[in-house]
């Protein structure tokens, strides 16, 4: 069996880009609010459906779908934080309670989506031009996905390093009391982070949906690899997430080659990320964070 390694590498970049876009929001809110928001999966799904409605049902095209879906899902993120997590945290809920609440919120969103759009898978009908470069098979969608991930990485870097809000996010993430004492409006910083985080989840949902299909479990299907990226990268660490996303993408795609060579089912593909997740948690729960200055 000959393996097209160039394609494997390229596919790793695609997988990594998707996971990065999905993980940025999770890692930022996890770092700031200090609990893993399992409903992030449903932010992804919701984003995909809103994107679908705008692009397909309203026929307004893909770029506008991204914008609208970012805004709407971002606002949903803010509402969820304000309506559920903030009151819970104020009442002194433990991290376990917050996690369970996020799963409960996930139920509400997931089944509301199912009730609104039914459980039948939906497909984007936008056709993407496909072309070959040497041994590589590439589609327009994948190019967009990779460009979005790169743009996101650069933009987030500038926001985190250069802007006031970015500095406030970093400060609040590393020490909320000190941030508050330095006059940072911590409450506003958290709300903005939830907005951006949920909005970016919507991007991940649209790209995933356009590449495969949309159904109410779109987000849940990829949430554990996204958790793997978040944890491998170090919670709240944006630069760690970039590296981790590509490590997991690479591991999954090289792993598939390995699975075929070993004669195992390729449905184990998703298990590779789970395994990395578990091993990271056990061996090095702080992830790659030490390799980077906390951001």
């Amino acid at each position: 069996m000959t393996v097209n390694w160039a394609q494997v590498l390229f596919n790793s970049t695609i997988t990594g880009s998707l996971y990065l876009i999905g993980a940025v929001g999770l890692t930022l809110t996890y770092g700031l609010s200090r609990f893993p928001n399992f409903a992030h999966a449903e932010f992804i799904t919701l984003g995909a459906y809103i994107g679908y409605s705008v692009a397909e049902q309203a026929g307004l095209g893909f770029p506008l779908a991204l914008v609208v879906s970012f805004l709407v899902t971002g606002i949903v993120g803010i509402l969820c934080y304000r309506g559920i997590f903030q009151p819970l945290a104020k009442r002194g809920a433990t991290i376990i309670h917050l996690m369970v609440a996020s799963i409960a919120l996930g139920f509400i969103l997931r089944y509301s989506i199912g009730a609104t759009w039914t459980w039948k898978p939906l497909y984007f009908t936008t056709t993407w031009s496909a072309f070959n470069i040497g041994p590589l098979r590439i589609t327009g969608l994948w190019v967009w996905l990779i460009l979005t991930a790169i743009a996101l990485a650069i933009l987030m870097h500038f926001i985190l390093v250069k802007t006031k809000i970015g500095k406030a996010i970093r400060a609040t993430s590393s020490n909320p009391e000190l941030a508050l004492a330095s006059g940072i409006n911590v409450d506003r910083v958290i709300l903005i982070t939830w907005f951006i985080g949920a909005g970016l989840a919507a991007f991940a949902g649209i790209f995933r949906g356009a590449d495969t299909q949309i159904w109410p479990l779109t987000g849940w299907d990829i949430i554990l690899p996204i958790f793997a990226v978040t944890i491998l990268g170090g919670i709240g660490n944006f630069y760690g997430a970039i590296v981790a996303a590509f490590i997991i993408g690479l591991a999954e795609n090289v792993g598939v080659v390995g699975l075929i060579a070993l004669g195992l089912s390729t449905s184990y593909r998703i298990g590779i990320a789970f395994l990395i997740l578990i091993i990271t948690l056990i061996v090095r729960p702080e992830g790659l964070a030490m390799l980077f200055r906390r951001a």
């Binding site: 609990f35 893993p36 559920i84 009151p87 819970l88 009442r91 809920a93 433990t94 991290i95 376990i96 309670h97 996690m99 369970v100 609440a101 799963i103 409960a104 919120l105 996930g106 139920f107 509400i108 997931r110 089944y111 509301s112 199912g114 009730a115 554990l224 958790f227 944890i231 195992l264 089912s265 449905s267 184990y268 998703i270 298990g271 789970f274 395994l275 997740l277 578990i278 948690l281 056990i282 729960p285």
Partner: protein, 314 residues
Amino acid sequence: MDPLLYVLDLIVFIGIFGIVALSLNLEFGFAGLANFGKVAFFLIGAYTYALLSQIGVPFYLCLVAGGLVSAIFGLLVSLPALRLRADYLAIAVLAFGEILRLIVKSEEFAGGDWGITVSPAISLVGASHRVDALVNIGLVYFCLLICFIVVQLLANSPYGRAMRAIREDEVAAEALGKSEVKYKAQALMLGSAMAGVAGGLYAQYLQYVLPGMFMPMVTFTVWIMVLLGGPANNWGVLLGAALVQIFNRGTNILKDYFILPINPTDLQYILFGALIILVLLYRPQGLLKESRIKTKAMEGVRRARNAVKNKGSQ
């Protein structure tokens, strides 16, 4: 469908999930462990039962084996996982459950997507469905009773008090010489054994096992039972198990009588989600509160306090 059979079926389900809820109560309610992978141990019990009964092992040994294998996995998982923070543990065991489901879905020996047919534990010749259900009620509630007694005795023993102390304050309990990891590992092992037995009962009652029966959803249904009923209160979690099952059936029956603008299954989970958030916000102790610890020493303290109070009011 036969209404009596429907009720009997409901009672069997309450019993099986009552066992799982009790096991989560031991882990979360008493020991403070966030087991988000409960379904993994339920799956292990069910598949152990199914595979063993295929080669002709008697049902009681299958059930015990399901519990044992599950307990061993519980111990194996706990060894590395218990040193983790609550959120890391939750994510790790959730992923563990998903890996197990992937394995039984992909491997030939476990029947893959099509699962395995399981023979019922006790099959009487020529018995009607109602009698079968009654036999199952006997079997399930016998196991439930044993689990209940074990958890109840543990909870009120010095052992259980140490467990609760660790849940409240790990550092203080460690300072008093109570090893956090030891207690939590034992809670996870015993909880997994109970979930394993419940899995075996489930497999033989439904007479098949499928990977689709063991979605993460099952874990969270059990969490709803525990949080709604009252963590660290065994009667509470049984009440929770009954309420969730009845609610489940209720919404399914309602759809036959009312035309809802929404799919009843969707509505059911939306309501479950909302219910859990409301419980966490307004009644985090659940419907039934954790009962006070009763010991002779505590009784003495209480009596002395009352005496002082009475004196003061005279």
